[in-house]
Amino acid sequence: MNPTVARLTLRGLLGRRRGLLLLVVPALLLLVSAIASGSSADAHGLTVKILGQLGLGTLVPILGLVVGTGVIATEIDDGSIVYLLAKPLPRWRIITTKLAVAIGVTWLFSVVPTLLSGLLLYGTRDGMVLGYTVAVLVAGAAYSALFLLLGVVTRHAVVAGLAYALIWESMVGNFVEGARTLSVQQWGRAVAEAVAGDTAIGADVSFGAAVPLLLVVTVGATVLASVKLAGLTLAGEE
């Protein structure tokens, strides 16, 4: 961790309009939960829909995308990354610091509202809320690492990230069962299931597969991002 890199990253991320944009995600989740908690419908089904599909399935990847790319892609785009790179600072330390900030912010804006929404909707029964909270924790970290890597390797990180989260995980994953094996969301669900039990949460990937996959993706993305950052090329304007 480098405190200066962390400070710059955090200010860049939360300052300006992006900070407000990030607030939309938890606000939406809490609002929907508050409305739903008033309804008399099947509480279990509602919780699975809101925490699972809306929260873990949609809001967490979007948040991870905004935050993961926001901690580095913006700087690479506008060229200000030069001031970080023209320093005798190991590249992996820049990446791990930025990842830590990304994970911290993703957690703050997703874990807390997930926990609150869950308690509002379903109380503490079946360990379900705890399960989803843990799922959001692990998925949030993996998304952050993955989207940070995208920010380093491509100028179109947001598009690529959206394509992965919305097209691959949501659409393809809905129809093609095999695609779910390679889905951060499903790995999160597997972890949630291990915490909360089979009856509360359904997962398509086994816990034994999900944990190593989560680790490989998170650690692999971090290592690769460090290597790519060390060889970052600034194309001439001419």
Binding site: V82, A235, G236
Partner: protein
């Protein structure tokens, strides 16, 4: 004392060759990297500052490779051409952050010293996003100088500066050169380079066109044949009178343009000769225009010299 050596360096992007087999050494003092836009100056500076790998050849700082070697930044200060620099920070916060990133033992003192040096102390508490171009340039300088580097690389530092800011920056760079630091800056404006650098490296179309003392290069540039397009009341008679004098080497009567194309060897001689000859012969001059004064033609002359 530090020297950047560029040894047989080429860099291509796909099929486009941006830098073609360039060899040069940049030592202490001020060096101007001169060339028209698109000549490969930025590509060279990017390679010298470790943000681009040479496709072939080597770029080293006192023998150590620059590409993928973060330790060189202890010695290099870089002033990039692009303006973005964490707009949400104040000048002070920006320079301080740079000092901290260098791991300096007393970042606060170093940042204060650097801001003093570029005379930006008065605006240090304003956000850099509110700065004028010249102020940004100076704060960028402060961030590059904060660790007291032996080498300073500046990419088109005078672009968009007003004359006063230009003089200030020149003054500052002169002081660094006099300190024995290695200062390299790029520019496409000859006068700019001439005012500041004794030593000039010229690149044209990716090739190393000339190298050396600015006076030598200036002479090469002024001694080259100058071409003029002249229209007068009697082109043929004027041509006959001019060719008798030694300062013209060739005259072509361009029937279609209804003009003379004149090649003069001696710039000074020709500009005094032409009006004199015309007056004596009673010929009126309608047009006298230099045909090849564009920077590109000056440079291409240098390449062939």
């Amino acid at each position: 004392m530090a020297t950047i050596s560029i040894d047989k360096v080429s860099r291509w992007f796909g099929n486009v060759v941006a830098v073609n087999d360039v060899t040069m050494a940049i030592g202490p003092g001020i060096t101007g990297l001169l060339g028209p836009n698109g000549a490969g100056k930025s590509t060279l500076i990017h390679m010298m500052s470790g943000f681009l790998a040479p496709s072939s050849g080597s770029v080293t700082l006192d023998g150590a490779p620059i590409w993928r070697n973060q330790q060189v930044y202890r010695q290099i200060g870089l002033v990039p051409e692009r303006e973005s620099m964490y707009d949400y920070l104040t000048g002070w916060e920006f320079v301080l952050a740079n000092a901290e990133l260098h791991g300096l033992p007393q970042p606060g003192a170093a940042a204060r010293r650097a801001l003093d040096l570029v005379e930006m102390d008065y605006a240090k508490d304003r956000r850099t996003g509110t700065y004028s171009k010249g102020m940004k340039q100076r704060v960028k300088m402060a961030s590059a100088l904060v660790h007291d580097p032996a080498v300073l690389l500046l990419d088109e530092p005078f672009n968009g500066m007003d004359p006063r800011q230009r003089l200030q920056l020149m003054d500052l760079l002169r002081r660094f050169g006099a300190d024995g630091r290695t200062v390299l800056f790029s520019s496409h404006i000859l006068e700019e380079v001439e005012q500041l650098a004794r030593h000039i490296e010229v690149v044209v179309a990716g090739r190393h066109a000339a190298s050396g003392d600015f006076r030598k290069i200036r002479r090469l540039m002024t001694d080259r044949p100058h071409r003029y397009l002249v229209r007068s009341s009697d082109d043929r008679r004027l041509a006959a009178a001019l060719i008798a004098d030694g300062s013209t080497t060739g005259i072509e009567v361009d029937e279609r343009e209804r003009a003379l194309r004149i090649e003069a060897v001696n710039f000074q001689g020709f500009t005094t000769l032409l009006p004199r000859v015309a007056r004596e012969a009673g010929i009126r001059l309608y047009t006298v225009s230099p045909a090849d004064e564009s920077l590109e033609s000056v440079f291409s002359y240098l390449v062939s010299a």
